[in-house]
């Protein structure tokens, strides 16, 4: 087999690149960008309906568009892109061939087939069941089949990654320990196996139920197992995103992790604890005990939160050290002030890290406290939270990385590189405004997944705080900015791939950051320490404010 693989040596990075890996990255990235295009169109329709001043769609189309948006964004865009990352972090970073090139195509084919079945089912009106498809809500049976095929296809991509790690080891394509980015990707891949297994465990019986083979599925059991898929699938995102942070820090400022032991141990904590957070969705359910809820929602004493807080320090610390080694060491923040802010990869890294931590992380942990969930569950606080993690965090990081994928893998220059940088800022700031408005509107009890919060057609018309309307308007404006940023992303990427100037095969054709010289000196990370303590202060304040708000509602005891 190995004799069939054809390699090129990348003139920019010196990496040995298997043609099969490169093709897999291309097709998965293209599928991912198509998904974000479809999901993005639906996003704008959903947004313009939830903005009470516009209220665009009717109820049937709104619920359909919302289901379509959730599937294409949370599952297709993210997982296609993640599989692309695995084909980069495995074969390319280790200089190895792809273990099973043909099997890789089979996996990709199943993912495409599954996603098409799901999208067709939704668009034909056969699956107005939301992303979660809680039984006994029923969709057409090929919707569930689509989920199974997609999960199996993704699982094949993940297994191909593991097989490639084995091949690289056996054929000695590298020496020593695998790079940190590969290690992080492997962590994401392990979490993905657990996630996709839950997907199979829940969607196979649900599919049989939709065919009439199984008569009854318990709603509580479904929610328990389904969230073993639903939440961990977003933990693959978190883990892959952190790996991409380290990657972007290297590509943009030549950063190296300050201490590999710390970074890798933090990834290990993700494997051990992060999937327990599936409990976040079940905290106000009837079927589970408080002990179960408290242990699981806390990721086993918050050790996965600890991991994220570690990465939140080690990534900026790596940037700070690299910059200081280049001589930018005046005061606390010269390293940050003189960072390459005009580079879309760096802009994406900083915005992703800051928004994920300050908005997504803090809200997620707070709403995931068992009791605080009483004042958060299924309100707009929840989508406000996960748009800060999955969109402002993961998607933004992946967008920044795409501006390296296009020149290095597709070997085309980005058309309008300045516009690419502006795109990152527009999208990041737009999403921050959007998620801020959404989360705050949610604290006025505005429900998620709801067509009409003015309750015009219901039996009773609850009064609504004017402030809630204001924040829904903030959400609308931020969402439009982000929508524009997202459209620009698709336009720039597609135009560059088709019409961009070819990258010549000479060293330095794509400017990548050089590693700063190591003179063995001790470099302080005082700027980073200031930043993480600011973060901790924000965390503490927001967390205890929520307990105060909780204490003000009716007693439940």
């Amino acid at each position: 087999m190995s004799s069939l693989a054809t390699f090129r040596t990348c003139a920019q990075t010196g990496l040995r690149v298997d043609g099969a890996a490169e093709r897999m990255i291309k097709v998965h990235a293209v599928a991912g960008v198509l998904a974000i295009l479809f999901g993005g169109i639906a996003a704008v329709l959903v947004l313009l309906t939830r903005w009470p001043a516009v209220h665009l769609l009717g109820p049937a189309m709104y619920y359909r568009a919302l289901t379509f948006h959730g599937m294409n964004m949370l599952i297709f865009w993210i997982i296609f892109f993640e599989i692309a990352i695995l084909y980069f972090a495995g074969p390319i970073l280790l200089g190895s061939r792809v273990a099973w090139p043909r099997v890789g195509w089979a996996g990709f084919g199943l993912m495409v087939l599954g996603s098409l079945l799901i999208d067709v089912a939704i668009l034909r009106g056969g699956a107005d069941v939301m992303f979660t498809s809680y039984v006994p809500l029923r969709a057409v049976s090929y919707f569930y089949l689509g989920w199974i095929l997609f999960a199996v296809g993704a699982l094949i991509g993940v297994l191909n990654f593991f097989a490639t790690l084995v091949v690289a080891r056996a054929e000695r394509t590298y020496e020593g320990s695998m790079p940190l980015v590969t290690f992080g990707a492997a962590t994401a891949a392990i979490i993905a196996v657990a996630t996709l297994a839950h997907g199979a465990i829940i969607y196979i019986p649900t599919w049989l139920w939709s065919l009439g083979v199984i008569q009854n599925l318990d709603a509580g059991m479904y929610r328990l197992v389904w969230w073993g898929l639903g939440h961990p699938s977003q933990q693959i995102n978190v883990t892959a995103m952190v790996a991409v942070w380290y990657l972007l820090a290297t590509l943009t400022v030549g950063a190296s992790p300050v201490n590999e032991k710390v970074c890798r141990t933090a990834f290990l904590l993700y494997i051990l604890f992060i999937n327990l957070a599936a409990a976040h969705h079940l905290l106000v359910d009837p079927q589970l005990s408080p002990a179960w809820k408290v242990f699981n929602t806390s990721y086993g004493m918050y050790l996965a939160v600890l991991a994220s807080m570690v990465h939140g320090m080690t990534v900026p610390a790596a940037v700070e050290v690299a910059q200081r080694k280049k001589g930018l060491s005046k005061g606390l923040f010269e390293w940050l002030a003189k960072a390459p802010w005009g580079n879309p990869g760096f802009a994406a890294l900083v915005l992703s890290l800051a928004l994920f931590g300050f908005m997504g992380g803090i809200t997620g942990v707070t709403f995931g406290a068992e009791q605080v969930n009483i004042i958060s569950h299924n309100t707009l606080r929840i989508p406000g939270h996960f748009h800060s993690t999955v969109v402002a965090g993961t998607t933004l990081a992946f967008m920044g990385l795409t501006y390296f994928v296009v020149p290095l893998i597709f070997r085309r220059y980005i058309l309008a590189p300045k516009l690419a940088t502006a795109q990152i800022y527009l999208f990041g700031i737009g999403i921050a405004i959007f998620a801020g408005g959404m989360t705050t509107a949610g604290s006025y009890a505005i429900p998620r997944r709801h067509w009409d919060v003015q309750f015009a057609s219901s039996f009773f018309q609850p009064p609504i705080e004017p402030a809630a309307f204001f924040f829904l308007g903030v959400m609308g404006i931020g969402g439009l900015l982000a929508g524009l940023g997202g459209a620009l992303f698709v336009a720039i990427t597609v135009a560059s791939v088709f019409f961009g100037k070819r990258v010549p095969d000479v060293p330095g054709a794509v400017p990548l950051a050089a590693m700063p010289p190591d003179r063995g000196q001790h470099v302080p990370i005082s700027g980073t320490l200031v930043l993480v303590f600011v973060f901790l202060a924000a965390f503490v304040i927001y967390y205890f404010l929520n307990w105060k708000w909780l204490a003000a509602i009716w007693y439940v005891r």
Binding site: D452, I525, R557
Partner: protein, 174 residues
């Protein structure tokens, strides 16, 4: 670099400033964890764990019998029930209503029973912002004490089909 393989020993001692953050972050995680048991012990708002298995038909019969017994009036076609302090009160969720309308007294504690006759529903007291899940097959008992007079509304906040947004019930606190 994070994209290069590591040769030699990389299991190195952790720098002091990194250690400082690790220690503080771990301490904060323990605080986060401690808050939940602490609130169970001292706090006034905790998800209950009094749950019974019940079929939709049985629960419906129970609620109907309860409404017959305690009905005190009507509001927009819904019966209004007024349980005495400390008593059980039953509500059901179905496509697309919360039934019946309930009248409570401020400062009194009631055992609120909730279940669904069909799909999964979200019981959200609006604009109070108190949220619980209501599942078919499970009878959930929440010991609640209203702390303010006025009307609150039970909004459904879990998607339950095309009429989901119409599903609004009412609780009056006197």
């Amino acid at each position: 670099m994070s994209i290069q393989t590591l040769k030699g020993v990389w299991w190195k001692k952790v720098d002091r400033s990194e250690k400082l953050w690790l220690g503080i972050a771990l301490a904060w995680c323990l605080v986060l964890f401690a808050m939940m048991p602490l609130w169970h012990w001292k706090g006034g708002q905790n998800p209950s764990f009094e749950t019974y298995r019940i079929t939709a038909a049985d629960y419906q019969a129970k609620v109907e019998a309860y409404v017959q017994k305690t009905k005190v009036g009507e509001d927009r076609g819904f019966p209004v029930v007024a349980p005495g302090p400390g008593e059980d009160v039953y509500m059901l969720g179905r496509l697309w209503q919360w039934y019946p309308v309930v009248k409570l007294k401020k400062g009194e504690t009631y055992r609120l029973h909730l279940s669904s006759l069909d799909l999964v529903h979200g019981f959200s007291l609006f604009p109070l912002n108190l949220n619980f899940m209501v599942l078919p097959g499970y009878e959930y008992v929440l010991p609640i004490t209203p702390t303010e007079k006025g009307e609150v509304y039970a909004v459904c906040n879990e998607f339950c089909g095309i009429g989901h947004h119409q599903m609004v019930g009412k609780i009056i606190v006197e």
